[in-house]
Symmetry: C2
Subunit: 233 residues, 2 copies
DNA sequence: CCAAAAATATGAGATATCTCATATTATTGT
DNA sequence: ACAATAATATGAGATATCTCATATTTTTGG
């Protein structure tokens, strides 16, 4: 169980030439049928900074230009769930765009992250009338819904062994698994202790070999078979 | 663990006056900016019939007019997950509308169900250009994504006790809980045995009292407190 | 560079949940 | 109306996962 710490508000807003150069280089004009650049803000967040704090409704629809972030929710029993990884070209705040009442999740960067911030009060009405924008947002949300429903049913139907094997293969850097345990146990929804326990089993069985804090994949195929069990019939 | 049985294909298509009367009485013209009625089919499915079989891509976007249905997925280990309850005014097949490649889930009715069936080949292109339709579909999907992500994180953060209390309060008919155990254990993702075990605990503690196959709620407040634990901070 | 905080690591006992076996009762198709 | 099937019910042992305790190592802020 972890507690999330507020690290302070140090987000930087790019102005003038710096702003212009980002708007030009990473133009998102093609996502809309109407001119979008005038009121876009370009925000830079440092590593581990909160883009949105849990429960604080944002005033912007964000579009991630570069960097990575995580969506967190805190439960009443003190447990924390990492419910999603966010990458470049993802939206943030689309739930609040669509719903007046919404339990806003916390968003924390895991690397320096640059976002376009589109003010709701300027653009909300036009966005909700724009078929081009809505079509892509619909696809984005449909993928999200599919992903969550898959994770949900898999988490209940399979032990950690299978889900961890899948996660290792998805995140391995070449043949080496390097993720931080504290992040992974929040993501896979298991205790730190149990995660380490199953990793140790994988080592015992020869699937992985520990190298300092990292793990080298020794039997890719065994992990693959465990992960494949998650796929539907 | 349950196995899903195919009960045969006996869906009925309403024609002529019967079709017309449904189109008139339950008009969905307001969901689109273009005329939609010409090629709509009106389908009636009997109780327990499959509207879509797992893995069989549908040719229609369905809109449920009356009745109830369930979305099922079968895992490789033989476990079955009931991932969603479908009611009147829900869409079915929207994933296939949006994605060429999609692992189609099975949809089975739990009561007689009547749907409007909108042929993809007639309407897909227009739908994907229609802001009015897309806006509502976006909301529908955003709610679905939120629901799944909540269920996911809750299922990992809380024992069955809390999730079952919530489910009982949500589905109770007045003060009596009447759901079928075999359905509920697929939905909550636990074994039949364990579901019965926790129900028995609730009876021991005096939260419920067994009445034949049903359970009368005796301590609403105790159940409520258990369920409230699921809400986020 | 140091103290504090965070992350890693491991043991041991508790508990939530699963699997399997076996009856009994209710529902369904013919 | 009866046989087959599905649903309910309960026991007992196995296992997946959690909690708590404690130690070591790494990272971080000032």
């Amino acid at each position: 169980m972890r507690y999330l710490i507020f690290l302070g508000w140090i987000m930087e807003i790019y102005k003038n030439e710096k702003r212009q150069s980002y708007l030009k280089e990473y133009s998102i004009a093609q996502l809309f049928s109407f001119p979008i650049e005038e009121f876009i803000e370009v925000h830079e967040y440092k590593r581990d900074e909160w883009i949105i704090q849990e429960g604080m409704r944002p005033d912007f629809l964000f579009y991630v230009i570069e960097g990575k972030a995580k969506t967190y929710v805190t439960h009443q029993n003190g447990k924390v769930s990492l419910i999603n990884f966010i990458n470049a070209n993802d939206y943030i705040g689309e739930m609040e765009l669509l719903h007046e009442v919404y339990n806003t999740k916390g968003i924390q960067t895991s690397t320096k992250t640059i976002c376009f911030a589109l003010p709701f009060h300027r653009y909300r009405a036009q966005m909700l009338e724009d078929a081009k924008f809505l079509r892509e947002l619909t696809k984005f949300l449909s993928i999200k819904a599919t992903k969550f429903s898959a994770k949900y049913s898999q988490s209940l139907a399979f032990p950690l062994e299978n889900r961890l094997a899948d996660f290792i293969l998805q995140t391995a850097d070449g043949e080496v698994y390097k993720e931080k345990h504290v992040t992974v146990c929040d993501f896979l929804g298991v205790s730190y202790r149990h995660l380490l326990h199953v990793l140790a089993q994988f080592c015992d069985k020869g699937y992985l070999q520990k190298e300092g804090r990292h793990y080298r994949i020794q039997q890719h195929n065994s992990l693959y078979e465990l992960a494949e069990m998650l796929r539907n019939k």
